[in-house]
């Protein structure tokens, strides 16, 4: 998998990514799981990353991008149709 933009998050990111990939290919695609069981690992990764995004000033850019993306959500999320 790819690296994180924050080297200090690489280790936890790697653990999360491999958990996710296993869940995705073995459970999600086969329709045997409706919840993301890697969520606890994601929370750890997210904690590390959000600090890095804030330090680098990326969090503000991200907020704008999220606003701009609303129409994509509306178009592609089945539940919102």
């Amino acid at each position: 998998m790819s690296a994180s933009l924050a080297p200090e998050c690489n280790e936890v990111k790697e653990r999360y990514d491999s958990c996710f990939l296993k869940w995705y290919s073995e459970k999600f695609l086969r329709g045997t799981s409706t919840s993301d069981e890697c969520d606890p690992l994601f929370k750890q990764y997210e904690k590390c990353l959000s600090r890095a995004l804030k330090d680098r000033g990326i969090d503000k850019m991200l907020k704008e991008a999220r606003e701009d993306n609303r129409e994509n959500d509306a178009e592609h999320m089945r539940s919102k149709r």
Partner: protein
Amino acid sequence: MKIFQQSTEFDYSWEEVSTSNWRKYGPWNEKTPHVIAVDTIARTVDPQTGIVSPNTTSALSSVLTASQLRTERLITCRQSTPKWINSLLGGQETSHVYETSYVDPSAKRVTLCSMNMTWSDLLNVRETCIYEPSASSPTQKTNFMQRAEITALCGGWQKIRNSIEQFTVERFQQNAAKGREGFEMVLETSRRAFQEQRDLLRLQQDSKILKEIRM
């Protein structure tokens, strides 16, 4: 505004392509060294409620169908624009792309929507990519459709806007070929890795059986 559009086919099943998509920019891909980091910033699984067709004895009843996966990623690239553009737009070493993706496993569709975060007040790049089973061979091949809309926003000089848009479209064309080659590498490596994993599992199971026979 300028539009870049292309579609191509991969000789791999949709399941393989959709799984490998998550490692598209990893170490197995030697063709995209400009992508330095890919971070997942949000992810949700939404259970979907569908309705069973009414030809059953009971009236309409709802069932839980496959969930949909929504992911937000932040992609960090090393800047590779020519100097004249870079100096025009205020030189930066890295650029960021925001991507939201939607995986619908029952419809077998992956949709990826990306936009540039860097220089967003000067240039608007919106890309949509879709992976779907190929119509000709749905279990073995996957179709990839890519469409990008490029709009330079800087006021005033039409000529500069045109040059920036034209440059961006050309960059998309160059990257499309490289992107395909790189993803092919990932797909091939992934298929091999899964095969090795299966072989290993079989070997372990076989030895267990052998052990029991001997006992």
